[in-house]
Symmetry: C2
Subunit: 344 residues, 2 copies
DNA sequence: TACTTTCATGAAAACGTGTTCATATTGACG
DNA sequence: CGTCAATATGAACACGTTTTCATGAAAGTA
């Protein structure tokens, strides 16, 4: 067994060809199933590949114009449950198709995005998954012209030509706030996300819409930026509690900032949900683990990742396929951080 | 500006050469700083690269034998805080060095590892980071012979030739159990991890050692497999509580299984920590978020990832450098899930 | 000026694969 | 048996880069 002697001898298609007594072109044909190859030769080639422990060289393959079985994934950051859960969903679908993943972290740095995209589309990847892109205008146009398969996750509204997977942000907040109103709350604080993210805008729109529909007066001092971070949530909550007439309930635009809100409320000696009701958005894993467990609007992160990957594969199959926009529905998850309004 | 006209025209080194009026070899020299190039030509080349929006083709570069600025990362799975936090640490160091990451998820499937490693070492990656490899014997030998830079994270003991980064698993458990004993506990359950992981064995060894040192009788019915999963922890806890003389405290070999233990205890109507003390290992982010917050042995996951990447870069610089083994120290994080033993 | 030495630069080969094109071989049909 | 169509296969080129090698020019020395 040669493979035992030299496990990393970088055996190439030509080595296989020599052993099997054919040309390397024929080996390539067997690998890719492009044309008919005589049964005996095919047999010999397969056998030689096995004996030599042949592993195709991805770089050469993609350089020569072949399929790569790699998809590129651009994310703003890693580590928090949000990105992690989505990646998990993507990964599930990818490995079902035997694809691998090239992961690029932009660290929210706008400049990096176009370069990464450019590099990925030069043959490295068969398709692209963009999570929460900051400023895609620079390259989306080019991707489309190239008919390069890509799907945008959780960012909608910057154009109408990209296929996207998202959640019903507006409706989700609408449902959540409606629930708070049903509990008797009238002054409801809103800790918003980054302005430049369209999901932030949609969530805020949901807040505004429900107040309007229910005829509740709108006070813009109740809307405070939280930037989707725990610290941001903390500061926002402090600001809200310092108001002359503080809210009896606070809706945070994502779970992470809701954690900050809870920290701040507790720092004031408040009990949750007795003294104040708090609701988040996302339902990341840790939302269910804390005590009291966070009432939140569930965004199906795993499913979003999975669906996006699934959609991407359809485009890889059929690059001219029609644009698609998928909105997975959110769901209000009632746990323990919201209670009926008690006048003090 | 050509770059505005054709953002994705795949401009190559030859295009740059033509515009600058030199040969493509010279362009390559400028890019890689290999030999002196006349100042005026260098200037023209840089200018042309900028105007055309040149982005090097990774595949071609690695195929031709150049440096890749990519490191390969093999992980068993994603999504849970454990892997996520380590990846975050790795990512921090990588982006500081301007490197990118090729992520492979083995999904605990043993067969996949050698193929991935083979593929990565064929020029795709400059180095390899192996997180919790299952059966590295198949390829580590080859990596070493090739002098291919790699670092193993959180798996020690399978050989003495690989550079590794880990934590003081044994000492961590020793400290944790000592604390439980100080609280008065004598019957302490242990929910163990997978047998084949050496960190599991070390943690179990720490448990045995402290009992021995403190002269506490050892009862092997108190050791139950939990497999590092939440469900496994749940089942293990059920088994422990069903014992004739159930433990007054349970140490779970990792946080995720501790969550399962807590679920099971609560399902029995027990209060934590009043009725039973529970301690975990890892200190993944969600350990601090839950209520009551989990008392656990902190494993510096972020730092482990970061240090591993740092070490890998040293090997990439100097492939013949000496093997290194780094053990980062664990730390007992006392929160709310452990209380003084109360006889009933 | 003539000869050697240095050195920047272009031509060309290499990396491993996919693919086109021509050719040898087979088979069929009259 | 001869001609033509069909088809499997090998030779050669392409992909974009790095690197070696040879060459020409410039520079230095006598």
């Amino acid at each position: 067994m040669l493979s035992d002697d030299k496990p990393f001898s970088n055996v190439t298609i030509k080595d296989v060809a020599k052993v099997a007594g054919v040309s390397h072109a024929t080996v390539s044909r067997v690998i890719n199933n492009t044309t008919k190859v005589a049964d005996d030769k095919r047999e010999r080639i397969l056998d030689a590949m096995d004996r030599l422990g042949y592993v195709p060289n991805m770089q050469a393959r993609s350089l020569a114009g072949g399929r790569t079985k790699v998809i590129g994934l651009l994310v703003p950051d890693i580590g928090n449950g949000y990105t992690g859960t989505i990646i998990e969903g993507i990964d599930a679908e990818l490995s079902a198709h035997d694809y691998d993943m090239m992961l690029y972290t932009t660290h929210h740095r706008k400049v990096k995005e176009p370069i990464y995209v450019q590099s990925l589309t030069q043959g490295m990847a068969a398709g692209l998954l963009l999570l929460l892109p900051v400023d895609p205008s620079a390259y989306l146009e080019g991707l489309r012209r190239k008919k390069f398969p890509y799907v945008v996750i959780d960012h909608q509204g910057f154009d109408n030509f990209s296929s996207t997977v998202g959640a019903t942000n507006r409706q989700g907040v609408y449902d959540g706030i409606t629930y708070l109103i049903e509990l008797g709350h009238r002054r409801i604080g809103f800790v918003s996300g980054p302005d430049m993210m369209s999901c932030s805008m949609e969530r805020l729109a949901g807040y505004r819409a429900v107040l309007n529909d229910q005829g509740i007066s709108y006070d813009d001092r109740l809307i405070v930026p939280g930037n989707h971070t725990q610290l941001g949530g903390y500061k926002a909550c402090v600001q809200l509690l310092d108001l002359e007439k503080p809210p009896s309930a606070i809706f945070a635009a994502n779970d992470v900032s809701a954690f900050g809100v809870i920290d701040a409320a507790r720092a004031r000696g408040m009990h949750i949900p007795d003294d104040i009701s708090i609701m988040g958005f996302d339902d990341i894993p840790q939302a269910g683990w804390m005590t009291p467990a966070l009432t939140t609007v569930r965004q199906p992160l795993f499913a979003m990742g999975r669906q996006a990957a699934k959609m991407l594969f359809e485009f890889i199959e059929e690059p001219k396929g029609p644009m698609r926009r998928l909105q997975l529905s959110t769901e209000l998850v009632i746990r323990e951080t919201c209670a009926r309004f008690k006048d003090i």
